[in-house]
């Protein structure tokens, strides 16, 4: 805070120094003085409702004051544990338990209840009063959250989090007097993002997560802190398990990057590990059928397949998911390069990798984001490109809501999708799908004139003159005609960026919209170069990969062009550095990217194709090429948790541990490491990916280190990505693209609130309240087409047609319909290949 002065006050007879603007409570807690609270939450504006944080103010005759919102003042005399303070707190608790349905013995939160703790600590007994507690509303309609207003202490944390952090306002406080209660408008069933923030923050048992209702008391559960495996936000969470079964998932609060927040996927999407279709043992193909086998046999068959490919001198290719841990991803590329002797290894077309390697690297010379989540929080303005974080990266969304609501942060939102943060955005630019790069160049065009290319003191980036020249045709008018925006909107957006000191640009990948993520990331970087906001507090680029360890797999060299530590395969010195550690020579060639791998396989050139957590036939946009590739590859090994579209071509299927069954590390999108702890043991004979790689290496006679030796080896090769500074460089833009011809509807295939893809769709819990197979459309479009909620609609995509159930969703933009690619693929083989052109469709009533 600006203009903070230091003041001294007297606390329990001790002189204490604090800063003006601080509250008494924060100073007391810093001094190690325990002050009970029920409604205080440091993420929220002070509320002052529970009156438990009372302390005695002895100067100025004010008596008892609520410390949570009373600012410190010079010369204050405060006492915290005198008889009047204790008596007031005891009376408060007595009142609270009068209005609280006391069913502690059977309450879900017994043993984990703030009120219970305080009642115990202060020795409260029930007051002998004939007080008539009103019967409260008990809402159990939603599949996930049950609300018992008779236990509610009205701390209002749920309501305030829903508004101030989640930006949803799904619940509010209704009525007055003793019948004051939390509810939804019109007492309708809760219909929200089911992020669970309200449940996590509830100090008592008023809000309960129905899926986590358990008959195992909290004190018998084993509690493990670990990292969420879904998106690249890297949220930390706590898993409580009992005899190997997950009992409850809660977010970590203090000091964690997610600060007590989770999204529906990270909160509820953990029942996949116990899915009945889970692969539990290896399988090998015998007489065209996949049959269960032991590990020995499966690995022998695999090695035989590998030997055949080597003997025939055919290519050996490998693709692994960026959900692997750093250790496992490192071992995979090491296995290929130093054991199999093949350069063709990578993470495929996983969203985010190209943005980092082909987007950030040409612009900054590094393969990481320059902004952290802290920078995101402290930026004056944030520009979000390509998607809405509500759907792709929910933690980013909550950071932005907090920034806007609590710090007046400016948000510039540019994407073609519906819903999400539009209400909160300072400027919302609903551009045509896939025109983000053009928009950013249009902004650069305006900024170059406005700022004359640089901020005071900032050096002009390399390549400025050519860049400026190439921008000439990107006038707001020209860019407007391609993006579908008004020239004034573009000028206003550029004006906003020019008017502040600290800008963060966020590129969200994995939304499935058309366009080149690398180009958008690169132009985003260049825009920051122009603004002088490449790096530093509150500045920088933030590329959000789709999967949890997108940043990590790049750092450990799971990329055909990159070795561990962002070294180049094509660079002799870089290669030599790895060879020295691995004590073996590695191929000097840059490996094939995933498209080349598939093409080579389809052309009959691949002898051994190793897929780890990747399902190119079922998941990738180019499904038919993948099908052909796997059909023609001599030997296909798939390592996954389930049978997939790709396993039908596999010679060997190996069962792998997923999510919370693994140990290791991630690097989240903010460049910071995260730790995974194993919370439940996988069923059957499942192994973690890295163990399988080590087994294979061993069978090839290679000595690959594991355990502490592996960590030491990685320490030598993988550098801290934050150690290298960005070197900004501008590259001249090409010609303006041709404006697109628009079909009536844009088909939005980006992740939905509760489903990001094949993994979440296996969660029974997520599916229960959010059936994923449907088409969402706006009320007005539904009207125009003449369909009611739940009716079938016919989608015409190119020459193909498909029938899907239509659902009316008020958050959808007109002219846009949404579904998941998996829904299309599940319905018709004709949608095996999803192309940019397919984003334009016709919709009609059946």
């Amino acid at each position: 805070m600006a203009n903070q002065r230091s003041v001294t006050l007297d606390i329990n007879g001790k002189r204490v120094t604090a800063l003006t603007g601080e509250t008494l409570l924060s100073v007391l807690r810093r001094e190690g003085i325990s002050v009970p609270t029920l409604c205080y939450d440091e993420r929220l504006a002070p509320h002052g409702g529970c009156r438990m944080c009372l302390v005695a103010r002895r100067d100025g005759g004010q008596g008892l004051v609520a410390s949570c919102y009373t600012p410190v003042q010079r010369g204050m005399v405060i006492e915290t544990d005198t008889e009047d303070v204790m008596a007031a707190r005891r009376r408060q608790l007595q009142l609270l338990i009068l209005d609280h349905r006391m069913e502690c013995p059977v309450c879900e939160r017994s043993g984990d209840c703030r009120l219970q703790d305080l009642v115990y600590e202060y020795g409260i007994e029930e007051a002998p009063l004939s007080f008539s507690r009103p019967t409260g509303l008990h809402d159990t309609a939603s599949a996930v959250i049950a609300r018992d207003n008779e236990k509610c202490v009205l701390c209002a944390k749920c309501v305030r989090l829903c508004s101030e952090v989640q930006g949803i306002d799904a619940i509010g406080i209704f009525d007055r007097g003793l019948t004051t209660h939390v509810s939804t408008a019109g007492n309708r069933p809760l219909d929200c993002e089911f992020c669970g923030q309200c449940v996590h923050a509830c100090p008592v048992g008023a809000l309960v997560a129905k899926p986590f209702v358990s008959d195992v008391p909290v004190w018998l559960r084993e509690s493990t802190a670990t990292t969420c495996s879904y998106c690249s936000c890297g949220c930390l969470l706590r898993m409580e398990s009992y005899e190997g079964e997950i009992q409850r998932v809660t977010p970590l609060l203090d000091g964690s990057p997610n600060n007590g927040k989770l999204c529906a996927k990270g909160w509820l999407g953990w029942d996949i590990t116990t899915h009945p279709e889970r692969l539990k043992h290896p399988m090998i193909r015998k007489d065209r059928q996949l049959v269960e086998a032991g590990w020995e046999e499966a690995l022998e068959v695999t090695i035989a397949g590998l030997r055949r490919a080597q003997e025939r001198n055919r290519a050996i290719t490998g693709l692994a998911t960026p959900r692997l841990t750093n250790e496992d991803a490192y071992l995979f590329q090491r296995l290929f390069r130093s054991v199999f002797g093949s350069p063709h290894v990578g993470a495929g077309s996983a969203p985010g990798i190209s943005a980092l390697v082909d987007g950030v690297r040409p612009a900054y010379g590094i393969t990481r984001s320059t902004a952290s989540f802290k920078d995101l929080a402290s930026a004056d303005a944030v520009m979000v490109l390509c998607a809405d974080p509500t759907r792709t990266h929910p933690l980013i969304k909550t950071e932005l809501v907090q920034g806007i609501m609590q710090r007046g942060q400016k948000l510039l939102l540019a994407h073609a999708l519906s819903g999400g943060l539009q209400r909160q955005a300072t400027i919302y630019l609903p551009l045509h799908p896939g025109t983000e790069e053009t928009l950013v160049l249009g902004l650069a065009h305006v900024l170059v004139r406005k700022l004359h290319g640089r901020r005071d003191g900032a050096p002009q980036p390399v390549g400025f003159a050519e860049f400026r020249k190439g921008l000439e045709q990107h006038s707001p008018r020209a860019v407007g005609s391609i993006t579908g925006l008004q020239p004034d909107e573009i000028r206003a957006a550029a004006g906003l960026l020019a008017s502040v000191d600290n800008v963060v640009v966020v590129v969200l990948t994995g939304s499935g919209i058309p366009g080149d993520e690398a180009a958008v990331a690169r132009r985003g970087c260049e825009l920051l170069s122009l603004l002088g906001c490449v790096d530093g507090p509150g500045r920088g680029i933030l590329v959000m990969g789709e999967k949890a360890n997108t940043q990590g797999v790049v750092e450990v060299g799971l990329h055909p062009a990159l070795l561990p530590g962002s070294r180049l395969v094509a660079n002799d010195d870089d290669r030599a550095a790895c060879e020295a550690v691995w004590k073996t020579s590695i191929p000097a060639l840059t490996g094939w990217n995933s498209e080349k791998m598939l093409q080579a396989a389809a052309g009959g050139k691949v002898g051994f194709f190793y897929l780890v957590g990747q399902d190119p036939v079922g998941d990738w946009r180019s499904g038919s090429l993948a099908r052909e590739a796997l059909e023609r590859a001599d030997f296909v090994i798939v390592q996954d948790a389930f049978l997939t579209a790709s396993t039908q071509f596999a010679d060997v299927v190996l069962p792998a541990a997923i999510l919370s069954e693994r140990i290791g590390h991630f690097i989240a999108a903010d460049g910071m490491p995260r730790e995974l702890q194993r919370t439940d043991r996988p069923p059957g004979s499942i192994l973690q990916d890295g163990q399988i790689f080590l087994e294979l290496a061993g069978r090839c006679g290679a000595a690959v280190s594991s355990g502490p030796a592996l960590r030491e080896e990685m320490r030598r090769l993988v550098r801290d990505p934050r150690g290298v500074s960005p070197q900004p460089k501008l590259s001249p833009p090409g010609a303006l693209p041709e404006p697109r011809v628009m079909n009536p509807f844009f088909l939005d295939l980006s992740p939905q609130l509760f489903h990001s893809g094949s993994t979440t769709m296996r969660s029974a819990l997520l599916k229960e309240f959010a059936p994923p197979v449907s088409v969402l459309l706006s009320p007005r479009d539904a009207d125009a087409i003449g369909i009611s909620d739940g009716a079938m609609v016919r989608l015409t995509v190119g020459d193909n047609q498909i029938l899907l159930r239509g659902h009316i969703d008020a958050s959808m933009r007109e002219g846009t319909i949404a579904t998941l690619p998996q829904s299309l693929k599940a319905h018709a083989r004709v949608f095996e290949d999803i192309t940019d052109e397919m984003c334009w469709v016709c919709v009609e009533a059946v």
């Binding site: 008892l64 009376r91 009205l154 009525d175």
Partner: protein, 423 residues
């Protein structure tokens, strides 16, 4: 004393702008616009005008805080959420002289440097809100409000906001929340409205009667005003009298008129020759005074010295037919219903007090009930967040102080002499 605030009572003409002008409306505003805003603040300070909403805070000082803040987005808000039980004086001003209020608001806004103003009207005041909206429309049409007030360069916009019917919205921060479309519950302080009020802008909130005093001060001068009433308790005061008197109603008298004069001379005394038992000087949130305090002057300082508060001037008179347990119960019923529910001592505490009082009324009182009542009432008073909770138990506490024997009688015999007489 010639009526000042109610000078147009009975004269329907005053409702129209034309009629109000014939009675002299907006001449003070004209005069004010010709002076420096700071001079007007000085004038109000010299007049000793104190807030008529209940707290009696010096109005000039409040304006000074606001005019010291350099911000071109300031709000002047008139609190017309008159909901205090026994108080109905602001309603009278609005009903009979809306332009007086508008003029007062305009002068106040000009003085503090606000270009936007609003009147927050109690939800149940439907007719009064209509009257105000008509007056505002006329004032706009005649150039009294708008981009050029009375042809001066000063702009003032004003709107009428209708509340939804909540006592707690009389608290200025709850009022601001309500105006912003939020739930009507108080805000934590700091920040105070003077620094960050309506939509986070510096805001002055003044009561209807306070603002209605302003034109006459500008017109006749601070000295003239200060000479009405008693030192430090200046000006005309509206007393709304209800309860056991012959002629309940609103009376405009010099501040400091003794309660005895108000009750016995102006209101015609108590009906049926009954005797005065107690009175609440300023509505349901001011402590009761027993009959022997009836001679004190009805002004801020004298009532405070006697152990109560002048409050809004909503004088409630009780004769010997009033059961003091019932009086306290009636009060708590209101307070517990109107508690916004935000803080627990008020939400739960007032209801527990009410239940205890019901027990005593209905013969279920226990000997320890009185000490429980006292301890809990003090708790609610001390640690509630806003004025509602802090004053909710004061009638009860004062009744216990002055009429304890009635409570004891109730507990010992299941009722008191008064209750038995009624049966």
């Amino acid at each position: 004393m010639e009526p000042i605030l109610l000078r147009a009572r009975g004269n329907k003409d005053a409702l129209s702008l034309e009629g109000a002008r014939r009675l002299g409306a907006y001449t003070a505003l004209q005069k004010a616009l010709g002076r420096q805003p700071s001079k007007i603040v000085e004038e109000i300070k010299r007049s000793n005008l104190r807030g008529r909403g209940g707290a009696g805070f010096p109005t000039g000082l409040k304006w000074q805080f606001s005019s010291d803040i350099a911000d071109d987005r300031k709000y002047m808000i008139c609190n017309a959420n008159e909901s205090e039980p026994g108080t109905f004086k602001d309603r009278e001003i609005i009903r009979c002289n809306p332009h007086l209020l508008l003029e007062g608001i305009a002068i106040a806004a000009y003085a503090v440097g606000a270009h936007d103003a609003a009147i927050y009207v109690r939800g149940e005041f439907r007719d009064e809100a209509d009257v105000l909206e008509r007056a505002v429309a006329e004032a706009y049409a005649e150039g009294i409000l708008g981009s050029s007030v009375l042809s001066s360069p000063y702009r003032l916009d004003l709107f009428v906001h209708r509340g939804a019917g909540a006592y707690v919205c009389g608290d200025e921060t709850a009022l601001l929340n309500s105006m912003e479309g939020k739930r009507g519950q108080p805000r934590v302080r700091p920040p105070f409205p003077a620094a960050s009020g309506f939509l986070q802008t510096p805001t002055v909130v003044n009561n209807v009667e306070t603002l209605s005093c302003v034109p006459s001060i500008i017109e006749h001068g601070a000295l003239w005003f200060a000479k009405i009433g008693r030192p430090g308790n200046a000006g005309p005061k509206l007393y709304s009298v209800s309860g056991h008197v012959m002629h309940p109603g609103v009376y405009e008298l010099p501040m400091g008129t003794p309660f005895s004069e108000i009750i016995y001379e102006h209101c015609g005394g108590l009906p049926g020759g009954r005797t005065l038992k107690a009175f609440s000087p300023g509505g349901a949130s001011t402590p009761l005074l027993p009959h022997d305090k009836v001679e004190i002057p009805a002004d801020f300082d004298s009532v405070a010295a006697a152990g109560s508060m002048l409050g809004s001037g909503g004088l409630i008179v009780m004769d010997d037919s009033a059961c003091m347990v019932d009086v306290a119960k009636n009060c708590l019923e209101f307070m517990s219903r109107e508690s916004c529910g935000m803080c627990s001592p008020c939400r739960i505490g007032t209801k527990v007090l009410l239940d205890l009082l019901s027990d005593i009324c209905e013969g279920r009182g226990r000997p320890e009930s009185l000490s429980t009542l006292e301890v809990l009432a003090a708790h609610v008073q001390q640690i509630s967040m806003c004025g509602l909770g802090q004053t909710a138990p004061v009638i009860l506490l004062s009744a216990l102080r002055h009429f304890r024997s009635e409570y004891e009688e109730h507990i010992a015999h299941g009722g008191c002499a008064v209750c038995r007489k009624e049966q």
